[in-house]
């Protein structure tokens, strides 16, 4: 099984057990770098796939929570190299497939080939790059595919149907369906016409579709879970962590356990 297929398989396995796949997001090294691996293990024990945010100085698609976590992690010296070193040290102890969410520039600076090598060794199965549209992604996609890693495409309510087909076809692991026309961390609730949109993406995609942005509660997860294979929970979880709370009861509550 190629690395990116582990992502799809984990979501499908959750669905087979009668619930939506849960994809928790954390900013690597936040709130405390020293707790990174402990936190990651706790999250990975609950999540089917874990999305790991790589801090960046200019997180232009993110709201205040992820911005805050990103700047604070950077201030405390978190870097991609450091994250890989930490993951290597926990090798074998984290079962859930990992997906890295990073803006493009830290990946460019790291170098695509070395990045793919280290990602594979560290248990990272795929990447989400919010400022890398499909048209610019050729080099990066090739570097990932040579190692069996997936580049997960985002689609949004603003994506025209023809483009939606292109993106669903190009995606690996799952298709990331952005629920809102906006940035991460919204608390305005999920849009009313979400179900039609998610049904449409699901009908086009051969991969599981995971919905993200603005998902905070068990009701949200249940609502998107009827129309998508999985739910991505980011800012709300980061807020639990920055409050110093145990993330497991929160994550358990999201899937009604």
């Amino acid at each position: 099984m190629q690395a990116h297929e582990r992502i799809s398989a984990a979501i499908v396995a959750a669905n087979d057990s009668g619930r939506p796949g849960l994809v928790p997001f954390i900013t690597a090294g936040y709130p405390k770098p020293a707790d990174f691996i402990t936190t990651l293990k706790a999250i990975a024990a609950m999540g089917d796939v874990v999305e790991l945010g790589i801090p960046f100085s200019d997180p232009m698609a993110d709201g205040m929570t992820i911005q805050r976590s990103s700047f604070e992690a950077l201030r405390q010296g978190v870097s991609l190299k450091w994250i890989f070193d930490q993951l290597d040290s926990a090798s074998g102890e984290i079962k859930a497939p990992l997906v890295m969410m990073s803006y493009l520039n830290p990946l460019l600076a790291f170098g695509y080939d070395e990045l793919a090598d280290r990602a594979l060794a560290a248990g990272v199965c795929g990447f989400i790059v919010p400022d890398l549209p499909f048209e610019e992604s050729g080099d990066f996609r090739a570097a990932l595919e040579s190692k069996g890693l997936g580049l997960i495409q985002l689609v949004t309510p603003a994506t025209p149907e023809e483009r939606l087909r292109t993106l669903c076809d190009a995606s690996r692991g799952f298709v990331y369906a952005v629920t809102i026309t906006g940035i991460t961390g919204g608390d305005a609730g999920l849009p009313a016409d979400l179900t039609d949109y998610l049904d449409k993406v699901a009908s086009i995609s051969s991969l599981p579709v995971c919905a993200g942005f603005g998902i905070r509660t068990a009701d949200d997860v249940a609502a998107v879970g009827k129309h998508a294979a999985g739910a991505i929970v980011g800012s709300a979880l980061v807020e639990v962590l920055e409050g110093g709370d145990d993330p497991q009861p929160y994550l358990r509550s999201l899937i009604g356990q």
Partner: protein, 417 residues
Amino acid sequence: MSSLLQADEASALLAAAIRGELPDERGRFGPFGGRYVPETLVPAFERLEAGVREHLHDPRFQAEFRKELHEWVGRPTALTFAPRLSKRWGAEVWLKREDLAHTGAHKINNAIGQAILAKRLGAKRIIAETGAGQHGVASAAACARVGLPCSVYMGSVDMERQAPNVDRMLRLGAEVVAVESGDKTLRAAIDEALRTWVTDPEGIYYLLGSAVGAHPYPYLVRELQSVIGEEARQQMIDLAGGLPDVAFACVGGGSNAIGLFYPLLGDDIELIGVEAGGTGDGLGQNAATLATGTPGVLQGSYTIILQDDDGQVQETHSISAGLDYSGVGPEHALLQATGRVTYISAQDDEALEALEELCASEGILTALETSHAFAAARDYARQHPGARILIGNSGRGDKDMPTLTKYPARIRNHASA
């Protein structure tokens, strides 16, 4: 940075640039440029690109744009000979007076052009970012002129050092949104404007103020600002009797510099862009992106940026808010890589000194941004006696008074003279 391109590749790209063939259909200036934006904005950028293709060179758009430049902006701006400065420097110094354009800087050329475009594209409202406040003021004025609501995103650090411009924007009917995230300067303001655009990509038109960002902005802004160089070139022939030996412009994002340089690329004129050297050469002490930066992706474009080894974009320092930016327009990155334009820097204190000298010798209070170009031109004149020098005087310095008052003016007594 010329090592980024092979020699034959560099000369082919420069020839293409001079022929007007860049950016290419992918929005690239050679290796630089492109479109690195969130998926939500991709359709908005495609609509903008189609709109630019349809309208920008349409005779009706051009007629309206040129009419507004003439009747509302006050173009053509003057070309001014600087006799006392010429004598002091031992050179022949000419100034392209963008400070005389409406609202006091070259920014208005782009702002009114894009505001007219936004109207044609059916935008409901306009957002803009600003550093020094000049683009914010220009956008506020242009939006009032075309009748669209305008929100300007401005870093809180910049709001403090450019307070008079904040008040001007408010009076011109704009909403000014203080940006408290990131470095609280221009870069954070652009990030925040992009975040806002993502919330309503169909209704909002983003009026970007410099020749930076994702395609088609670097192209669009260059086309709207090229009026500077087109006018200056003809005025030099008419008034100075010939083209200059060298032209100087300050470079932050690089809109006034590309506007001046682009129409001169094919001429035998040395072109020198001057970045902010801040207080020194260390990372974080300056905004000399092209001099000390490396290739990377920032805010939608592959260009030269100030970053650390991990690809984190670095904060900058300059006495001038308008140059205080960690990136630079992708076309400048190409012009540097091809060797056609030389990019150097002037430090804060050199810019201040040049500002004083221009005030005293020609009666022109120039912007702190522009002062960097004067500082570099003076050094050049020392090494090239008699050179005919054209300086892009990109804006007026009135908005810098809060900064300048920290450096008290010399008190003179003329009664005994």
